[in-house]
Symmetry: C2
Subunit: 215 residues, 2 copies
């Protein structure tokens, strides 16, 4: 099935729905109306109905959404049932922190191992996951048909390492380098964590509020 | 001056414009049309013109945008000239990595120091910045009129520490805990880095591509 074009804004809201539905389930809530959900999330009911209508019919007019069923539907849309395999390239502090703290399994991802260029770290483990030598990274990706690489190397190495990942047949790159990398194969998906974008947005809202107060 | 309502999508694109304009300036480009900029950023020319029109008149019909002037205008909108002061709470791996790698000054922020609860780290430095005792955090924020706190404590402490920050008079929280914190003072701005949202979006696009290929 080919999906019709769906706006990036809708897609970026899907993980927020998953988090909200997790909270609702935890609180023992089984059904929720688009109105109540919108109120809790700062969205209009019609926006919520429109978002879900991109993917088919989820709710029943007048009955609201079944929290558990809706979560499952959204997880299917997000590919959580696919159990994509994940490796990490570059065991710096961010990389270490992700391995130790990020719950890959909870979101349906299968974290495998990390690769590092510093020989003194190779052979060690982080949170039970092995640190392997970058020399065998290429062969490992091909042999194990790895889906996603987390790129957390230094800025200066970012593009070069991304090239080797694409050549090895990686299908997605989760990019923590704060460098806008380019991929020669357009079918490789790149998702960036841009720390600076987030801080600048915080600054925007603080500045806007200051301007209002100065009136 | 009170700003009219501006959509979050426009606001979230502003940092991307800054990065693009930085790249253009580095490449020696002085002027750019909305058409060319749109092509490079995957946006339509009219979207770009509309985005900027939210903040006044920046370009000149037929002449395009002056790269340097446009960057300055956007930086003003983002409050980069305000030199907001920043402290970090919780010197875990993410916190350490931010202090060592994030160029606060480049984006107009004034990073001051970090606070930590583990006494053995107090008195040490990271990248030249002191690690202070969490016991004096409250007094420090008040005395130095600190604007922004980076929250990088453990999940279980996130809400409690956020409460103390709000009580101390902090104006913005950059939240790395992956917990949706609540603030009792609605004037406090919270900006979240949600790693999981980003990974799920990557999974969405990979899943969509797989579904197309399976046709």
């Amino acid at each position: 099935m080919k999906r019709d074009y769906i706006s990036k804004n809708v897609i970026r809201r899907l993980p927020r729905y998953v988090r909200k539905l997790d909270d609702l389930a935890k609180a023992g809530i089984e059904r929720i109306s688009s109105g109540e959900m919108g109120k809790q999330m700062g969205l209009t009911p019609s926006q919520i109905r429109q978002d879900f209508s991109c993917f088919g019919e989820f709710g029943q007019q007048g009955y609201g959404y079944n929290v558990k069923a809706l979560r499952e539907e959204i997880c299917n849309i997000l590919g959580i049932n696919k159990r994509y395999s994940v490796i990490l390239i570059g065991v710096g502090k961010i990389g270490q922190s992700l391995i130790e703290n990020f719950d890959f399994a909870r979101f349906g991802y299968d974290f495998k191992c990390a690769f590092e260029i510093r020989k003194e770290l190779v052979g060690q483990e982080i949170a039970g996951y092995p640190i392997l030598d970058r020399d065998i990274q290429d062969a490992y990706i091909k042999e194990n048909n790895i889906d996603i690489a987390i790129l957390s190397v230094g800025k200066e190495a970012a593009q070069r390492v991304a090239n080797t990942l694409v050549d090895s047949g990686i299908k997605g790159i989760w990019n923590f380098t704060d460098v806008d990398i380019e991929v020669s194969d357009p079918s490789v998906i790149v998702e960036n964590i841009h720390f600076s974008d987030s801080l600048l947005v915080l600054g925007y809202f603080m500045n806007s509020r200051d301007m209002e107060n100065e009136e």
